[in-house]
């Protein structure tokens, strides 16, 4: 846990944002969250990943609703800690993170920007409607090696054209 005073004191915007719950504050919070990378796939943010479901206020407390990608995903508690760290660094000291499992996360919630970033990072983004394209050479001559991969959200694939292995985001 980060001591609440530490970041607040060094923040140039100290005391200006934390307590006010205006639409502007909500917008600012979303923008802070959009800078928090997913710990396992740092190329995309937790907002791009679609796991931040809501930002609301209870009096002067910021409530961030977060949904897990997979129920056993070990990154969940780390993500919560990073959200807390980032918001405190921007002066939002009173905050609560709520775990929301319904409706369940779906890869359809990954933003268009998130998909493009995944592809650039070497992970084929989830898309049920199109053939899986190699993120390196773009060929659709690809095949699945294993339905499971290095993290719960990915499967192992290979490109039959450039012969490189790659990860693909599972569609759920």
């Amino acid at each position: 846990m980060i001591p609440s005073g530490r970041f607040a004191a060094s923040s140039p915007i100290e005391g200006e944002e934390g307590a006010s719950h205006t639409p502007l504050a909500a917008e600012r919070i979303w923008s802070v969250l959009n800078s928090v990378p997913d710990p396992e796939i740092p190329a995309i943010s937790i907002v791009d990943l679609g796991i931040v479901r809501d930002v609301t206020f209870e009096d002067d407390t910021v409530v961030v609703a977060v949904t897990p990608t997979y129920s056993g995903c070990p990154a969940t508690s780390l993500i919560n800690m990073e959200i807390e760290t980032a918001l405190r660094a921007h002066g939002f000291d009173k905050l609560r993170i709520e775990r929301r499992i319904s409706p369940p996360w779906t890869t359809a919630w990954i933003s268009a920007e998130g998909r493009a970033k995944l592809n650039a990072y070497g992970i084929a983004p989830p898309d049920r409607s199109a053939p899986v394209a190699c993120p390196r050479c773009g060929s659709t001559e690809t095949s699945e090696v294993s339905r499971f991969g290095s993290t719960p959200c990915k499967a192992a694939w290979r490109c039959n054209a450039c012969l490189e292995p790659f990860d693909r985001f599972k569609c759920i």
Partner: protein, 249 residues
């Protein structure tokens, strides 16, 4: 309703015990892809166990959280099926058990998604996505290995024969199940049998395996009467919390 606590314990304990069983393969899988697949499946199951056991603890109202239920109960308080506590044995047995359980698990969760209890329905909606994926893998592999070499077929048939006496318990309903069904919280397990037979039958036939012609079923797990295997799992799993209560890191 106390029966919902029982339902959550039964679902959660199945996930917890099978999750730990499957995780025994971590670092020992026959090929790296399967090693990773099993670790992923185990992780999903343990995540689902956390959700179910947290619900059970909350509804029970005795201040026990998911960890307290997982680490501080003795074997007779566990409500899992005997099938999931069976040892991992060889890869064929592990895989066949996974397939038989995944098929039941998916059907059960598909019904629980429509539960009259909103909390039960929420957990089921999350879990069913993962379990659908588990069944796709275990079904594919059962077919590939059953309809494979003479060696792989023999092992898959032996696995099916050995595990068949543990299938019936998945569909044996008791008074708790009937109360849950009467309140539309959960289906009575017996009502899932036909669908399960259809689902597994087509895969097992495609795998060229012979479905055993026996209705004999070992029962008792869901009422807390377990085989000796559960005690060994708990001894491993609970050691740290028993030796160093409330230890954290």
């Amino acid at each position: 309703m106390n029966e919902v606590v029982e339902l959550a314990l039964r679902m959660g304990d199945n996930c917890l015990i099978l999750g730990h069983r499957v995780s025994e393969w971590c670092g020992h899988g026959p090929v790296i892809e399967e090693d990773i697949a099993m670790a992923n499946v185990a992780l999903d199951l343990i995540g689902q166990a956390q959700m179910w056991l947290a619900l059970a603890g909350e509804l029970e109202g005795q201040g026990r959280d998911a960890d307290a239920l997982a680490y501080r109960r003795d074997a007779f308080d566990f409500r899992n099926l005997l099938l999931v506590e069976r040892p991992i044995d060889d890869f064929g047995v592990t895989l066949m058990r996974q397939f038989l359980f995944d098929a039941w698990h998916k059907l059960m969760l598909e019904h629980l998604v429509r539960s009259s209890d909103a909390r039960v329905a929420e957990i089921a909606a999350k879990a069913v996505k993962e379990v659908t994926y588990h069944l796709e893998r275990s079904g594919d592999l059962v077919e590939r290995l059953g309809d494979g070499t003479a060696e792989s077929r023999a092992r898959m048939q032996a696995a099916l024969d050995a595990l068949w006496p543990y299938v019936g318990e998945m569909f044996a309903s008791d008074a708790i199940d009937h109360t849950l069904a009467a309140h539309a919280v959960a289906p009575a397990p017996e009502t899932l049998r036909h669908e399960w037979d259809t689902l597994t039958g087509s895969a097992l036939r495609a795998a060229t395996l012979d479905i055993p012609d026996s209705d004999f079923a070992h029962l008792g797990g869901r009422a807390g009467r377990h085989t000796e295997h559960l005690g060994y799992i708990l001894a491993d799993m609970q050691f740290l919390q028993r030796a160093y209560p409330d230890a954290q890191w």
